[in-house]
Symmetry: C2
Subunit: 188 residues, 2 copies
Amino acid sequence: MKVLVETSARHLHVTQQDLETLFGAGYKLTERKSLSQPGQFASNEKVTVVGPRGQLNMTILGPTRKETQVEVSLSDARALGVTAPVRESGDIKGSAPCKLVGPKGEVELAEGVIAAKRHIHATTADAQKMGLTNGQVVSVRVDTAERSLVFGDVVVRVSDSYALAMHIDTDESNAAAAAGEVYGEIVK
Amino acid sequence: MKVLVETSARHLHVTQQDLETLFGAGYKLTERKSLSQPGQFASNEKVTVVGPRGQLNMTILGPTRKETQVEVSLSDARALGVTAPVRESGDIKGSAPCKLVGPKGEVELAEGVIAAKRHIHATTADAQKMGLTNGQVVSVRVDTAERSLVFGDVVVRVSDSYALAMHIDTDESNAAAAAGEVYGEIVK
């Protein structure tokens, strides 16, 4: 059972309200390129994420969401000077704080900075075909020339709004020396 | 077969000649703390490593060596703007260039920036006890709360000047969410 392995670089999701604070009243995200998950896109809008130790520029992914969330690698978290917990997307309670700086304003986030838990997006049909269920935890073997490894603790997330793909962060991608189009083998 | 897994943050090794260019004629490294490998130490001396995109401060590890070598994670390499090959220590031919900036001078390295290939240091006695041989490639399972994984492509290096330990870089450590004292299980 092969799955495309995609690397998510640091990025953030924002509420419409925070977007307007950062970019001005009535501002709308503009699409730069579509992502593999249907309806999701990288915008042209970037903000500076500021932590106690450093700052990093990040692209906002669209569309806007109900909560603002900053997804970083643990390397990024160290550069920012924050302790980002490993969490599934949306699970931001008690996660790290930061400040967002946009061209028109700033947002102080009391929480919202996480390192994404590695996961597989699958449609109901994909999941049935592969014998996977929502919330199941699997391992995925990634064979590369110099840093092959098997990722454990990969959460399967099933929704018909998804497209089949595994998402890892840049640390995880680098740990596998993954470059170009990479596929993993699901090991239950 | 358990092995202590140690994370190596970015650092560099320098020749005595480069050390003197960076810190002044006749300069000697001063020890800040000893490392697990016998005779090796983190010095008090730091330099700025400059790439085409960015720069990072790094500690020099001592004692001085026959060749200057900068060891970075692939995240670091991206921040610097260089393409660091995954290599065993000492194998720097054709690796990435950079500039070193010290308090007294600069060194332009035509090559020397690598991402260290993950490896296990073992004494002859360790290796015999574990049934390992120099140059053997093994896998190592690291179980953590949220990011367990199995590192493949781990090279065993045997020398009586070593102490038993596995070395991974910060990306690899982050990919396992390894924190505190971590042990791995060697899987041949």
